[in-house]
Amino acid sequence: MGKVIKLAVHTPEKLGLKKVRRRKRINLEDYGQLSLFDQDTTKILSLPGKKNFFEEAISLDESGNPEAERFYLLAVENEESVEDALCNLAILKSSQDEAIAAVDYLTQCLKKSPRHFEAHYNLGNVYSDLSNFDLAKVHYELAAQIAPEFPNSFYNLGLVLISLKEYKRAIECINHYVSLSPDADTSTAKELVNTLDTIAQ
């Protein structure tokens, strides 16, 4: 008779996905080698990508660096986002109380791109600073037509209409601003509408 020999049973290894585990680090010095390259403090630094003049100008402008103006001019010279650069140059000029230069840059921008939203909106601001409310009104209206989802055009248009004594339309514009800005603090605008309501009656 044959003898039955019991073999040791090995549960088969589970097949499937396997997690990657960190291997235990070998200490090279245990094997008589110097661990010259084992430096955990080494960092990989990423070098900034090369920006163009316009991008550089924007970041300088955002940090309030006066060098921004030079970079915007370089952007114009090198034909990089020319319309936007001209528009932002106008904002810088306006903040320096150089309204005429601001109008000049903005009109240059509109010559290249007649439906440039920011140029129309900003021209509205410059003209209202110059108390030219009729022209300010035209540019705010155009800005509102180009970007009807932008609330501030309606607010500023409302203020210009108050100056032009067009109270009914002013109320409509300011109310529209309120409806477009659900997250903003519109208490001043609402107060203004209440005051205008009493004047208009």
């Binding site: 650069a85 932002n88 306006s94 601001n125 108390s131 501030n152 607010y155 500023n156 100056s163």
Partner: protein, 120 residues
């Protein structure tokens, strides 16, 4: 008593002062007199300012318009009746309204689609 006055009349005037004190009150200490004089001076000064404005309206800065309208409103608060120049007052009021406007918008910062979410 000053020496240049007629010594014979001194007694006479002293007696008059005693009889009619209100006539001989020192005018400079009268508050009504001071107020009237001050108002008249102020009115004349404002008249000069208005004349300068009418000659060259563009020479008036926004600050000057603001100062002028403040003077008129303070006078009104004090109960002094003075209408002021309508054109200057209108300009100052418009300027005050436009000071509340939303700021300029930089181009190239956000996409047009984000504009709806942007409020000042």
């Amino acid at each position: 008593m000053s020496e240049d006055k007629n010594p014979h009349l001194i007694d006479h005037f002293e007696r008059l002062k005693a009889i009619l004190p209100e006539v001989y009150l020192p005018v400079k200490n009268d508050p009504k007199y001071t107020n009237d004089t001050m108002f008249s001076l102020l009115k004349n000064s404002l008249g000069v300012i208005e004349a300068v404005y009418l000659q060259s309206p563009e020479s008036f800065s926004n600050t000057q318009l603001d100062v002028y309208s403040n003077i008129i409103s303070q006078m009104e608060e004090m109960g002094i009746e003075y209408k002021g120049n309508k054109e200057i007052l209108n300009k100052a009021a418009n300027q005050l309204i436009m000071q509340a406007k939303k700021p300029m918008e930089k181009a190239g910062l956000v996409s047009r689609a984000d504009l709806g979410r942007k409020t000042g």
